[in-house]
């Protein structure tokens, strides 16, 4: 594909240089000359022969992509580019993940300390961690939405049944990928979420098989060094490789059959995705490439902005197998499983129902024999899809602590004001807004500090609320004693006394300490512009 050179004649040196540069350009773009490139930018039609197709034949990355699409499938509202976005997020996670790996060793002694070191000492370390975390959660969401879109457009119908099936496998791999990463920070959140998750495997019948699966996943009866290593290897090696493998199978099928056209574009039962009339072709180079490129750039911009200004990956206390946190929760995408566990036993909720759901999901193309992909013809499919979605949301809600879990009222009250993990009101208002003294909820609030007054007011109201809600929590009153235990360290003792329904006096006490330097940044957000102000607060103010 070199430039046509006329009969040898002496060329000025700069022309020779230009044509040499052009040669390099053609070499790098696998077949596009600078002239053709300029034509592309101007939006000119390709010439004949169409040199814009050569890269698709010559370049590895482009040979995977079709050289042109049917105009109707390039509309944003057809695919919402969700498949592309899933692929991109995987790449995004790979890059941020490899960067994180530099500072991480998967042992219980080091994992958590490494996290702290990443936050304390590594420039952009926190940003990388936040990006990786948000990308992971987003990927789960986007892959699910991509499935919803292909379901609603009926794109799983023949000949794309197998595409769908590999898609379901990709969804499962994505979930496990995200879940296996959950353990790696080795904090309480991670440890207990994964403990709950793996304990479901135990329910696989017969008992000894469940035990073996559990043992294989955890590396020991309980998660410890071995379990962490296994999850790490799953997360950085095995699952990504598996995902790449199935992605290529999936995408090969997508290109082979072409992206399904919007149903109105073709007759019912027909599949004309691969027969694109010449006047409706949109070439990958340059139109679709530019479209995809700008779209991904925009998504990256949004993710970055959200991460910088709003999203902070949490890091709780170091994993402590001896201490179960007050409310343990699975990651949000497994809330539905936790919800199921509350209404059914482990065997049903952990094994049978999810297993049946998975098989049904894979079998959808074979169960739905309706040949039409048009919305009007698929009311049943659409409605059952929506019902399933709503059910999932309800189950997920039931999985949160909001539903049917309740600790002892006194514990719930303190947990709201100053939780064991997370931030809570007291840590939010912070060291300097918690004056020394003894505060009794039966006495009027007397404090000059408005923030602290709000906290005490909340204390009073929480006690009242729980008195109403809980029958064995009568005439409660609380005492908050704040003492200065050390320089820069305040000791908050929460005491609650109440009368049980048996008429006896009951007492609850919880001690917490608050250091001036503690920043609890999850709550404040990174507050980019405010950071120096916090430094001042930590130092003296």
């Amino acid at each position: 594909m070199s430039v046509q050179s006329p009969a040898p004649q002496k060329k000025p040196w700069f022309i020779a240089l230009l044509s040499a540069l052009d040669g390099i350009f053609i070499y790098l773009t696998a077949g596009i000359s600078t002239r053709e490139f300029r034509a592309m930018l101007r939006g000119d039609a390709p010439g004949r022969p169409n040199t814009r197709l050569t890269p698709h034949a010559d370049a590895f990355l482009l040979h995977i992509k079709p050289s042109y699409y049917h105009e109707s499938v390039t509309r944003f509202t057809h695919t919402y580019r969700l498949g592309l976005l899933s692929t991109y997020l995987f790449l995004f996670e790979t890059i941020t993940g490899i960067i994180l790996m530099i500072w991480y060793a998967p042992t219980p002694e080091r994992a958590y300390v490494d996290m702290i070191r990443l936050l304390n000492n590594v420039p952009f370390g926190q940003l990388m961690r936040d990006l990786h975390r948000i990308g992971a959660e987003l990927m789960v969401g986007i892959v699910t939405l991509h499935m919803v879109r292909t379901y609603l457009t009926g794109s799983y119908k023949p000949p794309r049944e197998f595409t769908w099936l590999t898609g379901v496998l990709l969804l499962v791999i994505t979930l496990f990928l995200s879940f296996s990463g959950y353990l790696l920070p080795w904090d309480q959140l991670a440890f207990w979420a994964v403990t709950i998750g793996t304990s479901m495997a135990e329910a696989v019948p017969p008992a000894f098989v469940g035990e073996i699966i559990n043992l294989l996943a955890r590396g020991a009866p309980d998660i410890a060094a071995n379990g962490l290593l296994r999850f790490y290897l799953l997360h950085v090696l095995f699952l990504p490789l598996l995902l790449i493998l199935f992605f290529f199978v999936h995408y090969y099928k997508v290109v082979l059959y072409g992206i399904s056209l919007p149903a109105q574009e073709e007759e019912v039962g027909e599949d004309t995705a691969n027969r694109v009339p010449a006047n409706r072709r949109v070439y990958y180079l340059p139109e679709v490439l530019l479209d995809e490129g700008t779209f991904l750039l925009a998504v990256t911009a949004i993710i970055t902005a959200v991460t910088v200004f709003l999203f902070q990956a949490p890091l709780e206390h170091i994993a402590n197998p001896q201490q179960t946190p007050f409310h343990t929760v699975a990651p949000w995408y497994f809330y539905w499983l936790q919800g199921l566990l509350k209404i059914a036993d482990k065997m049903w909720a952990g094994v049978i129902i999810p297993g049946v759901l998975l098989v049904m999901l894979m079998a959808i193309p074979y169960l739905d024999r309706n040949p039409s992909r048009r919305g009007a013809d698929r009311r049943v499919a659409t409605i059952s899809g929506i019902v399933a979605g709503v059910l999932m949301i309800i189950l997920s809600w039931m999985g949160t602590p909001a539903y049917a879990v309740q600790g002892a009222p006194a514990l719930e009250v303190v947990e709201k004001l100053m939780p064991e993990e997370k931030v809570g009101i007291s840590r939010k208002i912070g060291y300097k807004h918690i004056p020394l003294g003894t505060y009794d909820t039966r006495e009027p609030i007397t404090t000059d500090d408005a923030e602290f007054a709000k906290l005490l007011d909340k204390f009073v109201h929480l006690l009242e609320d729980w008195e109403e809600k809980a029958p064995d929590f009568n005439d409660p009153w609380g005492l908050l004693t704040v003492t200065q235990d050390q320089a820069n360290l305040k000791h908050l003792r929460w005491e609650i006394t109440w009368i049980s329904d048996a008429g006896t006096e009951e007492y609850f006490k919880q001690d917490y300490w608050l250091h001036k330097g503690s920043y609890y940044w999850e709550q404040y957000g990174r507050k980019k512009f405010g950071v120096p102000e916090f430094l001042e607060m930590q130092n003296g103010g």
């Binding site: 930018l41 939006g43 039609a45 105009e71 109707s72 390039t74 002694e109 958590y112 702290i116 936050l119 304390n120 000492n121 420039p123 952009f124 926190q126 940003l127 409706r280 949109v282 139109e287 530019l290 479209d291 490129g293 700008t294 750039l297 925009a298 990256t300 911009a301 949004i302 970055t304 902005a305 991460t307 910088v308 200004f309 206390h317 170091i318 235990d485 050390q486 320089a487 820069n488 360290l489 000791h491 001690d511 917490y512 300490w513 608050l514 250091h515 001036k516 330097g517 503690s518 920043y519 609890y520 940044w521 990174r526 980019k528 512009f529 950071v531 120096p532 916090f534 430094l535 930590q538």
Partner: protein
């Protein structure tokens, strides 16, 4: 071509440029505040480490070293002490050899294996799981951070405010020469020996009272009255009249005392917290406890002087 759904090159260019700009601005802002952010985070995690350490100290160390680190005579030395932060390292010959925080770390992690210094009722046990103790490595680090954080208040103490309890393994520091606490005059440490020298089951009550460090918290001579409350635990000077001032014990003082020793949490004397160790039932036989109770209730009880092995030497 134009009839197809293809947005103009110009609009894509603008999209792309705006997005790139946003990314650059976000990363730029982050870069600008990275130094401060790392500083804030470092302080944050130091602070949280101390918070964790405070919980661990309250749960594991306060019974011996006192909640404020003030120490207990005959039980454990003060840590919230000017002496500790200024002279201790030199007195044990480690000045310039290691830092105080390493000294604390080693003591806490590995304990004090030797019982040479018999002024304390119990050994300081190893705390790190590495040496068979109950705390993980990170917990040892946190509790050490908490102990080291006493420094600021400790350095403000004058010699007479220092809750320092003289160590018998080092000479008396000069600044304590002329104040109340004196290593040779008023300070008469309980002379104790390895607790296992006398076989379990045969030990005399007065020996047990010292060997198990009851004496660290309970004074045998001072009366217990509102005006004279023992600081670490109730005084036992008037314990033979217990029934008159402790209504709960009126019916059967001996049974009450036995329960107090075997399960201290069963009844909490007002004005005290849960400092009393709750493992005595496993460290004494029941007969020993019964004899200890009888001894405590006896107004004419005798306390022998004993040698390092627990043998009586005053007869």
């Amino acid at each position: 071509m134009r009839s197809l759904y293809v947005r103009s090159f110009g609009s894509k260019l603008i999209w792309g440029l705006v997005s790139s700009f946003v990314i650059v601005v976000c990363v730029g802002l982050t870069a600008q505040t990275e130094d401060t952010r790392m500083e804030v985070q470092t302080k944050n995690w130091e602070g949280r480490g101390i918070e964790n350490g405070a919980v661990l100290f309250a749960n594991n160390c306060a019974t011996c070293h006192g909640q404020q680190g003030q120490g207990l005579q005959g039980v454990a030395p003060a840590l919230n002490s000017r002496y500790f932060f200024t002279r201790r390292l030199g007195d044990v010959g480690q000045d310039g050899v290691m830092t105080l925080s390493n000294y604390v770390y080693l003591t806490v992690a590995a304990g004090r294996p030797s019982k040479d210094n018999s002024q304390w009722a119990n050994r300081m046990v190893p705390w790190s799981s590495q040496f068979g103790g109950p705390l993980r490595g990170d917990q040892v680090v946190d509790v050490v951070a908490y102990v080291m954080n006493f420094e600021e208040t400790a350095l403000q103490q004058t010699a007479s405010e220092d809750p320092f309890q003289p160590f018998l393994d080092v000479s008396k520091p000069p600044e304590f020469q002329n104040i109340g606490i004196s290593a040779d005059a008023e300070w008469t440490p309980v002379q104790l020996a390895v607790t296992s020298v006398l076989p379990m089951g045969d030990r005399d009550p007065d020996y047990l009272f010292g060997a198990l460090a009851c004496s660290g918290c309970h004074d045998l001579n001072e009366p217990q009255a509102p005006s004279s409350m023992g600081e670490s635990g109730p005084n036992f000077g008037t314990i033979h009249e217990l029934g008159t001032y402790r209504p709960e014990a009126a019916a059967d003082p001996a049974a009450y005392l036995k329960e107090s020793i075997m399960s201290p949490d069963a009844f909490r004397v007002e004005g005290y917290d849960d400092a009393m160790p709750d493992d005595f039932a496993s460290r004494m036989t029941e007969e020993e406890i019964d004899r200890l109770v009888q001894w405590l209730l006896d107004p004419n009880r005798v306390t022998h002087t004993r040698d390092a092995g627990g043998n009586i030497i005053d007869e």
